[in-house]
């Protein structure tokens, strides 16, 4: 190690300072560079996370409401009991969160794999397709929500106009009680399939050619090669894509708020856990209840991530 060699940086020759102190400091800094580098970021994130999380945990055990400053009583697990026995808002919200995430992820992975396979081999005009793929990905989600709101408008929207041309009656889309959640899933698929495509394409291009070639020599057809060679080899990448997308899909907020407003619409038709917790906190000021919902939500996210990571380890072996 070169810790003991005098530093050659110009700093040490700066006038007006005893060279010894500067060198001592430099040696000290180099010895402790691991924490010197990592600590500021960790402290920043730690203070901004650990403190709020601890606070949320504490609030979830009190009956805090109205204002966080107002006196609140310690009520033990009362909030959790209230939330877990709430079949009107909480459990439907859990159901919507899971079905939104599940359906959106399934569509995104299947479509994403198809598009990635289409893009796998180079072709003319590739550049333009890649630009097109990036556009939904970087577009501001709130603006995207507003855009679809116009396109899916039951009266003036382009989608119903198109359906009218082929003789299908107009659909209520976002304003229908049964169709709203599906429509928001469609919006999520439009915006985030490109991300899955990019991840899977990176995985495809890093695959080695030999197994595929060997299978072809043995007479396997294209379908067999995809399901028995390419897909198993791609499994770790597919799971990474599901993991990265899943975390964000569970927490979807922007497009739901932009299209249906507070509380996920007047019948709460798109109210997911995140939207529900936001409403409890900032519309109803029920901090105790909302904290209990958030803690449960957090456990759902961490739990599903843990399951996926386990699965990935199993596939990678």
């Amino acid at each position: 190690m070169s810790v003991l060699t005098p530093p050659r940086s110009t700093h040490s020759r700066r006038a007006g300072r005893p060279p010894g102190a500067r060198e001592n400091f430099s040696a000290w800094a180099n010895r402790h560079r691991k924490w010197l580098f990592a600590a500021p970021a960790m402290v920043f994130v730690g203070v901004l996370i650990v403190f709020p999380l601890a606070w949320t945990l504490y609030l979830s055990l009190t009956d805090s409401q109205g204002s966080v400053r107002a006196a609140s009583e310690f009520v033990g697990l009362q909030n959790y009991l209230t939330v877990l026995s709430d079949a009107e808002r909480f459990w439907p919200a859990v159901g919507r969160t899971l079905s939104f995430t599940g359906v959106a992820l399934a569509c995104e992975v299947v479509l994403g794999m198809g598009i990635a396979l289409l893009l796998w081999r180079p072709f003319r005009g590739e550049k333009w397709v890649r630009v097109a793929i990036l556009m939904p990905l970087v577009a501001t989600p709130v603006a995207v929500g507003m855009m679809w709101r116009l396109i899916f408008d039951p009266n003036i929207g382009f989608v119903n106009q198109l359906l009218g041309m082929v003789g299908i009656p107009a659909q209520p889309w976002l304003s229908g009680q049964d169709t709203a959640l599906g429509t928001t899933i469609f919006m999520d698929v439009w915006q985030w399939t490109p991300m899955v495509v990019l991840i899977l394409l990176a995985g495809l291009t890093s695959l080695s050619e030999e197994p595929d070639e060997a299978a072809r020599m043995d007479g396997a057809n294209a379908v067999q090669r995809f399901f028995y060679i390419t897909l198993p080899l791609m499994m770790p990448t597919v799971i990474v894509a599901i993991l990265l997308r899943g975390i964000d899909a569970l927490k979807t907020f922007d497009i739901l708020y932009a299209t249906k407003g507070k509380g996920g619409g007047s019948f709460h038709e798109v109210e997911t856990l995140n939207v529900y917790a936001y409403g409890l906190s900032f519309d109803y000021n029920q901090y105790g209840l909302s904290s209990a919902v958030l803690i449960l939500f957090f456990m759902i996210i961490v739990g599903s991530m843990w399951l996926l990571t386990m699965r990935k380890k199993a596939v990678s072996k």
Partner: protein
């Protein structure tokens, strides 16, 4: 799927291309692929184009389904958005918050990612990456309480701090996978030649990581620009960012569709232009760490 991968049958005899094999597709597959890709492009771009078209229409034309494509374009909505609704201020707010949050996060995040990569500090990295997992709402209540006591809500500092919370984990994540794939030898030989470890980081590693830093910085800027929830709670009337300002065009009674679409276009265009010129970086950032297995 049969059609998709039929190309491979003929590819065996061709010399290996750098990265990918040469396309030797059958005619049917070629036609299918062109059609499928055209459909994909249309599906992804058409809605954005529709948004732009609507932003050039008067509200009367938007309600007239006969004028979907044939109408007299007007810049009236944009004049409305930019002049009467103070959008120039909101554009500046969005830009300033995203820029400062990204810059500060790079200063904190790049050295941290370096240390975490070189010393394989997996547990420490987990702490920072936790920030990507936690639902934002659970942070907002405590933040709002503390910052409103400090009389900081409605100021730029709070917004920048909260956006750094999004940027920093993203930057650490991208830079860690970048440093992981960077060979150690260069730094080691620099140290043999007499540089201190920190000196080697400063003079060898950093200059070599410009591409990675650009990737992390661009993505962090985009995510911060697009962020909605933190600004919704923590911004004041003077520090409103664009995604929050869009809601000015939506009221319970009615929606000013033309203005709304013009506003949505104004929010999206800058980020799309950035994306157009920095494609390569965005792709490598989005796929960072995805294929290391």
């Amino acid at each position: 799927m049969t059609v998709l991968t039929q190309t491979k049958t003929a590819a065996a005899a061709t010399p290996p291309a750098p990265r990918r094999r040469k396309p030797l597709a059958t005619r049917a597959y070629k036609v299918f692929r062109v059609a499928a890709l055209a459909a994909v492009v249309l599906f992804l771009v058409a809605p954005l184009f529709w948004m732009f078209l609507a932003s050039l229409k008067t509200n009367v034309d938007i309600y007239d389904t006969g004028k979907s494509f044939l109408f007299t374009p007007t810049w009236e909505n944009y004049a409305n958005v930019l002049q009467r609704n103070n959008y120039l201020v909101f554009i500046f707010n969005s830009f300033w918050v995203a820029f400062v949050a990204t810059a500060l996060s790079l200063v904190l995040g790049v050295p941290a990612a370096y240390a975490m990569s070189r010393f394989t500090m997996h547990r420490s990295a987990l702490v920072v990456l936790m920030a990507r997992v936690i639902p934002g709402v659970s942070l907002l209540v405590p933040w709002y309480y503390v910052f409103s006591n400090l009389k900081m809500v409605g100021g730029f500092e709070v917004l920048i701090l909260s956006h750094m919370f999004v940027s920093l984990p993203l930057i650490v994540y991208i830079m860690m996978s970048y440093f992981d794939s960077m060979p150690l030898e260069l730094e080691e030989s620099a140290q043999v030649d007499g540089l201190t470890p920190i000196g080697a980081f400063q003079r060898i590693t950093l200059p070599l990581s410009v591409a990675g830093i650009a990737t992390a910085g661009i993505l962090s800027f985009i995510f911060s620009w697009n962020n909605f929830m933190f600004a919704l709670v923590l911004s004041g009337s003077k520090t409103k960012t664009l995604p929050v300002a869009i809601f000015d065009f939506v009221s319970y009674a009615s929606i000013d569709w033309g203005g709304l679409m013009a506003a949505a276009t104004v929010v999206t265009i800058p980020i799309m232009i950035i994306a157009l010129f920095t494609q390569k970086y965005i792709v490598s950032g989005m796929t960072a760490g995805a294929t290391k297995g």
